[in-house]
């Protein structure tokens, strides 16, 4: 196999597209929080880019995709990534793209997954604990689960396959990460919402979005980047990539519509927040299915996901957990819908590497596998994240103090304000930052004295 420049170009471009999703997510989430903790919300995403990128080089990629012979985790054989330079990608077969392009592409998935979780704990998480959480969570949850789902094994010259992930080996169809990314993040979000507890004023004060234009901007950036996420997962400029790209577009559009229809019928008004949320629900649901279903089926999936997620986000008020920005209602529910939908509508007519679902004469077998894939990732992520979250809360503390929460995390965690309206609260220049710490200390002393 020679290096294919066309395929490589598409994967490199897709890598950049998928990176953009995380800043997009920062806007999507940041607009939905209160004005006093929007920077904190956005910083949780940006910090994830920092932490996971570094870990990925040190051992992350290796732990997910290094050849270990294990179905559950990779190895440390590619730590540092120096041995990956000049190699071609070997993942269930050799692709004509550099291993480093594959590593870069997969890195972006490892970044956005923990970033997705942050929406469940808006307005109340200690920033430093969040950073520690991301380090530990990707190490014990994301890297192994990525191996389960995305590692199709290293194929040797005589055809032996080693180290194939157990869900990939089972035949679970998940093209771009419905399980490893969305169900994984959704279940972890549920766990952290339980660990950190409800925000002050949950179900009482209006926790309404402080900037819906930011939410729409974020949704637009996510949508744009998602073409790389789904179509890039073909790992080549192929007809599978084209199918994935088109399905992504139509399912997202249909998801947007599905959510708005529910709102119009139930509440009387279609909302901009509903449009943004419906689009993301459509994107989530089509992620695992994008290369296995026909475009008309993608429309059906989008409408179902948009409508069901619109109903699912109300559950938190009945069940009394504060999944602040609906990571569970959109990503967990949308991910499960997408995974199970494959069991019904998947067809080898559009992708010979797929399988036939219930409606294409394949029987119930595929649906069973999809359910195993979805619920095994859900259970693993939920349980491990619950334990991890409680350990962090008991040791270094995960939730901020009541005073800090009321003050707003932008000020208490970052000593910044998102917006300066040049009102009567304007300040004066007080020198450069070299002596900043002493000044803050002196000021604090002065105030408390």
């Amino acid at each position: 196999m020679e290096l294919n420049s066309g395929d490589t170009a598409w994967v490199l471009a897709s890598t950049a597209l998928v990176l953009l999703m995380t800043p997009g997510l920062a806007f999507f989430y940041g607009g939905m929080t209160k004005a006093k903790s929007t920077l904190n919300m956005m910083m949780m995403s940006f910090a994830t880019i920092c932490v996971v990128s570094v870990l990925w080089v040190v051992y992350g990629f290796s732990l997910a995709f290094g050849d270990s012979g294990s179905a559950f985790y990779g190895s440390f054989s590619l730590s540092g990534l120096s041995d990956a330079v000049g190699e071609l990608t070997n993942n269930g077969g050799v692709y004509g793209i550099p291993l480093l392009a594959f590593a870069g592409f997969q890195l972006m998935f490892a970044i956005i997954t923990p970033a997705l979780i942050s929406g469940a704990i808006a307005d109340r998480a200690k920033f430093v604990t969040w950073v520690v959480f991301v380090v530990l969570w990707v190490t014990i949850v994301y890297f192994p689960v990525a191996h389960w789902v995305f590692d199709f094994g290293t194929v040797s010259e005589n055809g032996d396959v080693t180290g194939k992930g157990w869900l990939a080996n089972l035949g679970v169809l998940d093209f771009a990460g419905g399980t490893a990314v969305h169900i994984n993040a959704g279940a972890a979000g549920l766990a952290l919402a339980i660990v950190l507890g409800r925000r002050i004023g949950f179900k009482k004060s209006p926790n309404r979005p402080h900037s819906l234009p930011l939410v729409l901007l974020g949704a637009g950036l996510l949508w744009f980047g998602w073409f790389g996420f789904n179509a890039g997962s073909a790992l080549g400029a192929t007809d599978t990539a084209a199918l994935a790209l088109l399905n992504t577009q139509v399912a997202t559009a249909a998801g947007l519509g599905g959510w708005l229809i529910v709102e119009k019928l139930r509440d009387g008004h279609p909302t901009s927040l509903g449009a943004a949320s419906g689009a993301v629900a459509g994107l989530v649901a089509i992620t695992p299915a994008c290369a296995f279903v026909a475009p008309w089926a993608a429309v059906v999936l989008g409408v179902i996901a948009g409508a069901l997620c619109a109903l699912a986000v109300g559950l938190k008020y009945k069940l009394n957990y504060d999944d602040s920005l609906d990571v569970v209602g959109v990503h967990l529910v949308g991910g499960i819908i997408g995974c199970l939908f494959i069991g019904f509508f998947s067809t080898t007519q559009v992708n010979e590497f797929g399988a036939d679902g219930v409606f294409y004469g394949g029987g119930w077998e595929l649906l069973g596998k999809q359910a195993i894939g979805a619920f095994s990732v859900l259970a693993y992520s939920l349980i491990v994240t619950l334990i991890l979250g409680f350990l962090l809360e008991k040791t270094i503390g995960f939730r901020v103090s009541k005073d800090d929460e009321l003050q707003g995390l932008d000020l208490t965690e970052h000593l910044e304000s998102a917006y300066d309206f040049e009102g009567t609260l304007g300040g004066t220049f007080a020198g450069t930052s070299s002596s900043h710490k002493e000044k803050v200390a002196a000021k604090t002393e002065e105030v408390s004295a």
Binding site: P206, R208, R266, D267, H269, T271, L273, V313, D326
Partner: protein, 112 residues
């Protein structure tokens, strides 16, 4: 001297301003305000969660006038700000003890 204070719907500000200028009023103070009267607030729905917004955005307009003008100015504001629907606002006057123009130090009606 009297202070006329009017709480009006924000989109009526331009009409009221023009009407007062036409009457001969030379200055005013306008500030954003929020509040509610008998119309109460409204309900917004975010992802299916309803929130009652009690305080509605209003504009507060203040004008200092001579005693003789007070009633006429109130009429001008009422006429210009009226839509006939609930939530149009209120206008009231209070007596003012002293007025001074900061630039010149003039006192009383000369400072208006």
């Amino acid at each position: 001297m009297k202070l006329v204070t009017a709480i009006i719907k924000p989109f009526k500000l331009d009409d009221v301003k023009s009407a007062l200028e036409a009457y001969g009023i030379q200055g005013m103070t306008v500030s954003e305000a929020s509040g509610y009267g008998r119309q109460r607030g409204h309900t917004e729905v975010y992802r299916g969660a309803e929130y009652t917004v009690d305080l509605v955005p209003k504009v507060r307009l203040e004008v200092l006038v001579d005693d003789d003008d007070a009633d006429a100015v109130v009429d001008v504001v009422v006429k210009a700000a009226q839509t006939g629907r609930i939530g149009d606002g209120k206008v009231w006057t209070v007596p003012v003890g002293t007025v001074a123009r900061v630039r010149t130090g003039e006192r009383g009606p000369d400072a208006l």
